[in-house]
């Protein structure tokens, strides 16, 4: 990792303080004011909007393979997604995804 200790602590503290302020916003300061419906509608999709973008390069061109397509990672990601959709349970999705990653890696590698 290419950060100095000071930079790392700036990141940790800024993320900690920022996250607290987001959580405190309405409880602490803004009180009972209603959020406009259009804003609520957008906030509902923050996590599901950002996390898939995060995943995409990690699955399609992972650093560990030098950025080339890796059938093992793509298959394991598909298994994790499938199990997550089916069971609606994040823990089972992780178990299935990492399990198939290791199993396929052992089989093909």
């Amino acid at each position: 990792m290419s950060y100095t200790d000071a930079q790392l602590w700036v990141i940790i503290l800024a993320l900690g303080v920022g996250t607290f302020l987001i959580r405190f916003s309405f409880l602490g300061v803004l009180g009972n004011r209603e959020l406009p419906p259009w804003l609520l509608r957008h906030l509902r999709y923050t996590a599901v909007g950002i996390l898939p973008a995060m995943v995409t390069p990690l699955v399609l061109w992972p650093e560990a393979t030098g950025g080339t397509l890796d059938p093992v990672r793509m298959a394991a990601a598909a298994v994790g997604l499938g199990v997550g959709l089916w069971t609606k349970n994040a823990i089972w999705a992780i178990v299935a995804g990492m399990g198939s990653f290791w199993a396929l890696g052992a089989l093909l590698g």
């Binding site: 990792m1 607290f20 906030l43 898939p52 823990i91 990653f101």
Partner: protein, 235 residues
């Protein structure tokens, strides 16, 4: 109402939250493992876990740091993942807004996915609760959740130091994200947002400083909200 009812509410919150420890522990453990493998020292991994208490944003920060993104981009992207908590805060405010300042501040610090969901469900189911009882219930749910999150991370640091790098734990990060996304794809709008997010990540991958992440997230939020609006208009 008897004087002991906040106490009863606290204990009820604690009991309700206990099973969710099973959900929280593996994520904390994984963050400890992956953070250590990424090169953070013990204090830094624990700093993240104690100060932020939000797994998805912590993993986001970790991944962007592995990519060497600028400090500002790391913080902005990880905070964007947590924006949903403004919604949590807004939906708890009508129930807890009259409580003393220090209690609201403490509740805000502990306002994570699980405590929020359990608290909000309880307040809707029992409209007659006093503010003191509601606060007591909320702190009851936090009592097992927060320490287990922190403790599991500490165990993860210890485990991570002992694991061989050949395990390919770098892949645990995308798998964890996929595991968080999949159960959240409840409606067409959620699916549309997720698909937009993936497509934009591919199309905008050329943008510098990992800006594609924020751009893809913004586009996906707009698409999700718009699909939801149209679905509702059709009803």
């Amino acid at each position: 109402m008897s004087a002991s009812s906040p106490r009863a509410a606290y204990l009820r919150g604690l009991r309700t939250a206990l099973p969710f420890v099973i959900v929280v522990a593996p994520f904390g453990l994984l963050f400890g493992v992956v953070g250590t493998e990424a090169g953070l020292d013990i204090a830094q991994v624990m700093g993240f876990t104690v100060l932020v208490i939000a797994g998805a944003s912590q993993f986001t920060a970790l991944q962007l740091m592995a990519d060497g993104a600028p400090t500002l981009i790391v913080v902005a992207s990880a905070l964007a993942v947590n924006l949903r908590m403004a919604m949590y805060s807004a939906s708890l405010a009508p129930y807890l807004g009259q409580a003393p300042f220090w209690q609201r501040a403490l509740a805000a610090y502990m306002n994570v996915d699980q405590t929020y969901a359990l608290g909000h469900a309880e307040y809707e189911a029992r409209p007659g609760m006093t503010v003191a009882e509601r606060m007591a219930f909320f702190f009851g749910t936090a009592t097992p959740i927060i320490p287990v999150w922190v403790g599991a991370t500490a165990v993860g640091i210890w485990v991570g130091a002992a694991l061989p790098p050949a395990l390919g734990l770098d892949f645990a990060v995308p798998i964890t994200f996929i595991a968080l996304i999949a159960p959240a794809l409840r409606t067409l709008a959620h699916v549309a947002a997720a698909v937009t997010s993936v497509v934009m990540a591919i199309l905008l991958g050329f943008l510098p400083w990992n800006l594609w992440l924020l751009a893809a997230g913004l586009a996906a939020m707009i698409v999700g909200a718009e699909v939801e609006r149209r679905m509702e208009a059709r009803r």
